[in-house]
Amino acid sequence: MTQDEDRRSPFLALVGATIEEAREGYARLSLKLEQKHTNPNGVMHGGVVTTLLDEALAIAVGAARGVDAVRAQPHTAIEMNASFLAAAREGDELVVEGTLLKSGRTVFFGEAEARKRGDNKLISKGRVTFVIPKRPA
């Protein structure tokens, strides 16, 4: 699937990212950085990239589980960590890839990285763990 804007969450749409590809266990997003994505130092706010790392993996999990399963019981992130290796600035385009490491019945482990389009410089790398919460009785 490519350029499927309809699968964007409202928050991903607000941030302005594009879903470039989503298939079982993998998703790729991109975002052209604007002034609104920056912190007081003029570089990308860390919250922008953590959002994209998280979302790329959430989409990868969703693509692995299937639309019906996700609708019946949505998965949710419970743990995340990220390293911020380099700054990105207004005008840069980020490409974020999320890949699942393991899909279980209840728990999903994944890793994601953000690179700058063009020189492929690694900007951030993270891991996110998701669970399928038990339905309330």
């Binding site: 969450s9 991903l12 920056t38 919250g47 959002t51 998280d54 949710t76 995340m80 960590n81």
Partner: protein, 138 residues
């Protein structure tokens, strides 16, 4: 610049609608009245909103601790973040995020941030962050 200056809140934080509620010697408290724009496809508030606020709250607290002048001359930057996401937040709820500085050294600054729902004061997420203070001397 001081905490009352609108530019103290970053462009991205302001874009999300986050406001500075309170600040002290080693902490900053941010609030956000969440709405439908902040949500995941499943309808609850996106984790990215909470993560961004935690990063911001501690980054701002470290700015105050270091002093605006030193922070402007040699801006600190997040290098590591880990977070546990504990409870969902529904749009319409008020999120309160407090970042508290643990230590500011010559090279690194560390601290913790915690997010709560205003409605029931339950913890939504906790995190630890490390910032680097680049050496601008060359």
């Amino acid at each position: 610049m001081n905490p009352d200056d609108p530019e103290f809140v970053s462009a991205f934080t302001a874009f999300l609608g986050v406001e500075l509620a309170e600040s002290g010697d080693d902490f900053v408290r941010l609030v956000l009245d969440t709405d439908d724009r902040h949500t995941r496809s499943e309808g609850d508030v996106h984790e990215g909103v909470v993560l961004a606020m935690m990063d911001s709250a501690l980054g701002m607290a470290i700015r105050l601790k270091r002093g605006i002048e030193a922070s402007t001359e040699s801006p600190h930057a997040t290098i590591e973040m880990s977070a546990s996401l504990i409870r969902p937040v529904q749009p319409g709820e008020r999120l309160i995020v407090e970042g508290r500085v643990s230590n500011v050294g010559e090279l690194l600054a560390t601290g913790e941030a915690e997010a709560r729902r205003a409605s029931d004061d339950e913890v939504v997420a906790v995190s630890r962050l490390t910032f680097v203070i680049p050496n601008r001397g060359g």
